[in-house]
């Protein structure tokens, strides 16, 4: 065979090997996103949980819950959502940057804190990184979303009509799908302009939609039911914790 033939053969072999390599790396990336991030996030959650439980151990409680002062990147509360699975809970960290969300659901800085008037807004991953909000679309109106802080429990209920299962529309729907730049969903009064004063104590969860995509955002709105339940009065949590 000629020299030119050898060159062509070498070139083709090179392209073939390159394609195989690219394919392998892409497959490996899928494995990383779906499995390895789960392992890493699981470890991070375990650490955060231990950290919070240690910190809270022996913390006294007054007649009313003490004001929270979360520090960026630090855990400050637990989210319990029985509708996402039996005993589902995650430590919530302050901030919604990449590093915070790697560890678990993150609280939008500058939105309200648990129990406050306004909107306690939390973002979490849908797929990968422990997939905390994988089944967020399964939550129905009336389902409890419980926030546990150092000295109190707050029970929020997904908005909408529990009887018909309709999420409703006015003034705040229980669930909606919006474009990624729609920041009105985390306004003090959801869907209102950011400067409109709060009209209640809301909770908003955001994640990506559809699964495996970042094209839209799945939003769940809930509203506070009653007031804070002091830990001293309910060491094992409110009855809503057992629903689901």
């Amino acid at each position: 065979m000629s020299r030119a033939g050898d060159l062509v053969r070498t070139g083709l072999r090179g392209i073939g090997q390159l394609l195989l390599t690219v394919g392998f790396v892409l497959l490996l990336f899928v494995v990383y996103e779906l499995y390895v991030t789960d392992i890493l996030a699981g470890q991070a959650q375990d650490e955060l949980t231990d950290e919070l439980r240690d910190e809270w151990d022996g913390a006294g409680s007054g007649a009313t819950p003490a004001p929270l002062t979360p520090e960026a990147g630090e855990p400050f509360a637990f989210l319990h959502i029985p509708g996402l699975g039996d005993g589902w809970n995650r430590a919530v960290v302050e901030g919604t940057g990449t590093e915070e969300l790697e560890q678990g659901p993150g609280h939008y800085v500058d939105t309200a804190l648990p129990g406050q008037q306004g909107n306690f807004a939390v973002a979490g991953h849908r797929v990968g990184r422990g997939s905390p909000f994988l089944d967020l679309d399964q939550l129905r109106p009336g389902d409890p979303v419980i926030v546990e802080t150092v000295d109190a429990w707050y029970v929020y209920r997904v908005l909408g009509d529990p009887a018909t299962g309709e999420f409703g529309s006015a003034p705040v729907p229980g669930q909606q799908i919006v474009s990624p730049d729609d920041v009105s969903v985390i306004s003090p009064t959801p869907l209102a302009a950011p400067e409109v004063p709060p009209s209640g104590a809301y909770l908003t969860l955001t994640t990506c939609h559809p699964k495996y995509s970042a094209k839209q955002r799945l939003i769940v709105h809930a509203v506070l039911e009653g007031g804070p339940i002091l830990r001293a009065d309910a060491p094992d949590g409110p009855p809503a914790l057992q629903e689901g």
């Binding site: 494995v31 990383y32 990449t98 973002a123 990624p180 729609d182 990506c208 970042a214």
Partner: protein
């Protein structure tokens, strides 16, 4: 590239195959635990916030 690596691995076929496997595992681990975590945020798949 792969034939070049194969030629430069020492020993007989058995030893070459074993070392090749070790190389694959090492490269995979490097990608999974070092490279991907660093480049991932450059990709849009993991955006879950509204902003």
């Amino acid at each position: 590239m792969y034939s070049w690596i194969w030629r430069h691995l020492p020993g007989g076929t058995g030893s070459k195959a074993f070392l090749a496997l070790v190389l694959v595992v090492a490269v995979s681990a490097l990608l999974l635990f070092v490279v991907f975590p660093r480049v991932e945020h450059l990709l849009p798949f993991t955006d879950v916030t509204v902003d």
